[in-house]
């Protein structure tokens, strides 16, 4: 193919394809991935930025976020206090940076717990009729209560702590995940490859592990990212109304709650945590959106 032969008289040789086509862009593997899935790349990059911020909070020019300085309260943003100080003189910048820890712990904690519990319940009730009838009615009952209300009720039963916030939001979110998984399981168990596996003598536990579970993971992962984002908002909401993270631990919700009284005169106390919360939720949602597209098997293998 590459051997060039002399053209017969009267004909000019056709230009080589390589000269006509624009040069092919060489991309690294990572670059190629980012090019194909821009939302995952952007969302993933921003989420990891926030995770790094939370982990390395002490190194990011912060001071003790709980240190009181009544003499320097409600200072506007300046070179010394980047985001200003609150009504107790605490550095808002440090509080916001440390507050990322709570939001991310709650977000990821709820996503992981709710997804795994929901996956378990969904798999069982998708396969065992008797369990399905009972469990799904309970889930229906729980879903009829708005999840934030359910979480507030849960928090009212216990003392304020980060673990309890995670548990409360998880309980409120589990019905949604288990419904999703159950639906996926019900369609998967009718799939010919599952029937073929039954015909091939595979036992039920192995069918669940090998054929059902791997195919439910994609929607669950996508759902988990959305749960993560909604849990961050739920945590902030709970903290804002004083039913969440205890006030001694800075979280974006309770920074905003404390700044609320001064909202009209010192808006920056509420502004900065709100912006951080919005951007974090946005980037987690971007990641989830991208994953949903990328993990959909019908869209996955386009060339």
């Amino acid at each position: 193919m590459s051997t060039t032969t002399l053209p017969p008289d009267g004909f000019t040789p056709a230009p080589k394809l390589a000269d006509v086509l624009p040069p092919r862009k060489e991309r690294s593997k990572l670059g190629m991935f980012a090019y194909r899935h821009p939302t995952i790349a952007v969302g993933g990059f921003m989420v990891s930025l926030f995770v790094l911020m939370a982990i390395f909070a002490p190194l990011l020019w912060t001071v003790d976020p709980t240190a009181l300085a009544p003499a320097r309260r409600t200072r506007p943003p300046s070179e010394l206090y980047w985001f200003g100080t609150d009504m107790l003189g605490r550095d808002v910048y440090s509080r916001v940076v440390y507050g990322a820890r709570i939001s991310l712990i709650v977000g990821f904690g709820v996503a992981i717990c709710a997804a795994s519990i929901g996956l378990f319940i969904g798999l069982i009730s998708g396969f065992i009729r008797a369990v399905d009838a009972v469990v799904m009615r309970i889930m229906d009952g729980m879903m009829s209560i708005p999840s934030i209300l359910l979480a507030i009720a849960m928090m009212a039963l216990t003392r304020a702590s980060v673990e309890n916030v995670i548990i409360a939001i998880t309980i409120a979110d589990v019905p949604r995940v288990s419904r999703l998984v159950r639906g996926v399981v019900l369609t998967l168990r009718e799939q010919p490859y599952v029937e073929a596996a039954i015909a091939a003598g595979t036992r039920t536990p192995m069918i669940i592990i090998k054929h059902i579970l791997p195919n439910t993971l994609a929607p669950v992962i996508v759902q988990a990212t959305f749960l993560c984002a909604s849990a961050m908002i739920a945590e902030a909401t709970l903290s804002f109304i004083g039913a969440g993270t205890p006030p001694i631990i800075p979280s974006w919700g309770n920074i905003m709650a404390e700044g609320r009284a001064l909202w009209q005169v010192k808006p920056y106390i509420v502004f900065f945590p709100a912006v951080f919360l919005s951007i974090t939720v946005l980037s987690v949602n971007l990641l989830g959106d991208g994953l949903r597209d990328a993990l959909d098997p019908r869209m996955a293998k386009r060339i």
């Binding site: 490859y193 029937e195 073929a196 039954i198 015909a199 091939a200 003598g201 595979t202």
Partner: protein, 346 residues
């Protein structure tokens, strides 16, 4: 091929007697049973070793349900399924499992019949591992041999199903069905979803494999042209009942049952100069929830008479080795004038 106790000579490999499968319909507030879908309502046939029996009929006639009932993908309502003269329909799941390796299945849609998240090696090896037939490097050899048999390259075993075309995937499904050394393969519309040229390849592959391995095939299809090409005997189903069963030549040359005739007249002939009389059936297939009384075909039969509406015809020998469920001994070639006018008026 079978290594169980040898059955009495002359015993068919698979025998189905009076098979019934009714699906309950649930409705109402409490989800109580409100009716039944009579998907399969008394079907009997047998398949000899090395033979191909085709089950044909239009969609919804219950032919796939027969296949799945033989595979015991769900319990049957009534009747018997015998493998080598031994009943398998009443066995527990544990008792049935070792017998499952003898009956395998190839489904219609090659895109949903292979788990998209398993490599070919794992797909094909699954039955081999389940029945403890091989392990380690022997397993890889076996999978490789199976890929050879279905004419796919051996190195395909390290790839995923989505990397293959429909025809190739159907070969993978056939390899999986062959994997446990099965005797009977149920091909549930196995070639219906494929392009014509690929269809021919798969049909040829199946008949080659049948010759080579002595396979027995239960070929479920609505495509009579394909059936004519590869079957030994044909059974025609209509609305959960068998209406006619005969060997291939007899059925295609001199069909007896009016439904079989209508079905055959609908097969396209790849020759535009051939003129023939087409039998157009009126109306739709009645609902299997509430099937017609008497002969189930009487609502659409051009030769209907009084007895058909009350008396259900049984399969009986109508000569030339044909079994037909029709009250008429000789079905006329032309539609009686009275019936034709009634059909036009309807």
């Amino acid at each position: 091929m079978s290594n169980s106790q040898t059955p009495a000579p002359g015993t068919p490999l698979l025998e189905v007697k009076g098979l019934k499968k009714h699906f309950p319909i649930h409705g109402g507030i409490l989800g109580g049973k409100t009716g039944n879908v009579f998907a399969v309502d008394g079907v009997s046939f047998d398949i000899k070793r090395g033979e191909t029996l085709s089950l044909v009929g239009e969609s919804g006639c219950g032919k796939s349900t027969v296949g799945k009932a033989v595979l015991r993908l769900y319990p049957i309502t009534d009747g018997e399924v015998l493998l080598d003269g031994r009943r398998i329909d009443n066995l527990s799941a544990g008792e049935l499992r070792p017998l499952r390796k003898r009956i395998q299945v190839v489904f219609q849609d090659p895109f949903s019949s292979l788990n998209p998240r398993q490599k070919l090696r794992d797909i094909i090896a699954e039955p081999i591992i389940n029945f403890g037939l091989a392990s380690g490097s022997e397993l890889d050899d076996r999978v490789g041999d199976l890929l050879d048999k279905v004419r796919l390259p051996r190195d395909a075993m390290y790839r995923y199903p989505h990397e293959f075309s429909g025809g190739q995937r159907q070969r993978i499904a056939i390899a999986r069905a062959l994997a446990p050394g099965s005797d009977l393969i149920i091909c549930d519309e196995a070639v219906s979803a494929l392009d014509v040229s690929v269809k021919a390849q798969i049909v040829n592959l199946l008949s080659d494999l049948q010759d080579e391995l002595g396979l027995t095939l239960l070929f479920i299809s609505h495509d009579l042209a394909i059936v004519e090409h590869l079957t030994h005997r044909v059974a025609v189903m209509y609305l959960g009942k068998m209406v006619e069963m005969a060997d291939r030549k007899t059925l295609f040359s001199t069909p007896h049952h009016p439904y079989t005739r209508a079905l055959l007249s609908a097969v396209p002939v790849p020759d535009p100069t051939v003129k023939r009389q087409r039998i157009i059936l009126r109306g739709d297939v009645p609902s299997p929830i509430n099937p017609p009384s008497g002969c189930r075909f009487h609502t659409r039969c051009p030769f209907v008479f009084d007895r058909c509406k009350v008396d259900e015809p049984q399969l009986r020998d109508v000569g030339m080795g044909r079994m037909s469920a029709c009250h008429l001994d000789v079905v006329p070639d032309t539609v009686p004038e009275a019936n034709r006018q009634a059909a036009v008026a309807a």
